[in-house]
Subunit: 217 residues, 2 copies
């Protein structure tokens, strides 16, 4: 009864198609999160979405295409939900909050979305296996995260708040590594590991107060 719906007459078919795509991406997201990309099949995802395989393939020609849609999905979701990821690229969304405080807040918010964290953990590791279609995505993602945080730590150094001897590029790679690694430990032991606390402890080691004698001028 499409023509009865409020927006049905003018944009019914398009809206239906967009909603169907969203629904497929939802199911793919769930399945990739809980069992990984390699072990998920288009047929099962279609089944979970309650449609036929050929209907799914009308929207996504291959599993690779669906993976990229899942990975890019966070860009469409509100900032608070996209936490798994990339803080650097959104860093100046709220310029009033220093980047280190924003990072810790995001890590704390991530505790509400273990599924997305698991998805990124599984896919970023799977991405190094032969011929994995996520490889390029994660290669670019790490480059972009490191570049963004390097710029942040360079700014901290300009403010005289970077601990003496700390290299901004090394701190950037390290904070990304620590964040991902501690989130994986948290997925195994959510009652004992807190990613936000570990990030805060690391940032407190590298960022000092401006008048601290340990800082580079």
């Amino acid at each position: 009864m499409d023509t009865d719906s409020p927006a049905g007459r003018a944009r019914g078919p398009y809206a239906k198609s967009a909603e169907r795509r969203r629904q497929i991406v939802d199911e793919a997201y769930r399945m990739f999160s809980t069992r990984g990309y390699q072990a998920s099949s288009l047929r099962e995802i279609a089944g979970a979405a309650g449609i036929s395989l050929s209907n799914l393939q009308h929207h996504f020609a291959s599993k690779e295409e669906l993976l990229l849609a899942v990975l890019e999905r966070r860009d469409e979701t509100p900032a608070a939900e996209t936490a798994a990821a990339d803080t650097a690229e959104n860093a100046d969304e709220n310029a009033a909050v220093p980047f280190d405080a924003a990072m810790v807040a995001r890590a704390a918010a991530n505790e509400r979305i273990p599924g997305l964290i698991a998805l990124y953990s599984v896919l970023s590791a799977e991405g190094v296996t032969d011929g994995h279609p996520g490889r390029e995505f994660f290669l670019r993602r790490y480059d972009s995260l490191r570049a963004g945080y390097t710029a942040e730590f360079e700014e901290v150094r300009r403010q005289g708040r970077l601990r003496s001897g700390v290299d901004p590029a090394m701190a950037a790679a390290s904070v990304v590594a620590l964040w991902e690694g501690i989130q994986l430990q948290w997925l195994y032991a959510p009652d004992r590991i807190h990613a936000a606390d570990a990030l805060r402890a690391y940032l407190d080691l590298v960022i000092v107060s401006a008048d601290d004698e340990g800082a580079d001028a």
Copy 2:
């Protein structure tokens, strides 16, 4: 011509069986490393080992059993090869080398065994997916690594060399997280990322010289 081989007469069948098991574990190791556990099948592993599926199943009744054999394999290999992993449990093998120097040396040695590092990265992330048979292994592994390094950082504190304000348990979880996270980045960009350097930089932040005013007494 089994009876012609030097040791053939007495322990031929046993030796043959042990060698066959080793060969199957080798192939499983290779396949899990390059495409992950979920996407590998016993049939393909048997094919790679040049034996029938039923012959493989004579040695390993299930893929789970084979996974555990792969994960435990490093215990049979020389220390230098087992680097992916657990330094804490072998820490006093060479008590003359401080644990932080041993950790950095091991991270450097890991650059020679990207396959094993990839295996651990993929399996530890896959381990959080529903019903994954590696879950218990990694849960215990993280507990054991954190406990081992916590003890090491406590010893550093007793020596007056832990930076003031650093919590040994937090440093232990963080160094494990940093190590795994930076190794994953290295797998994507081996020419630009060096895990040993990142570990050294972190350890230099938390371990100070005994007379440094930043250390806890």
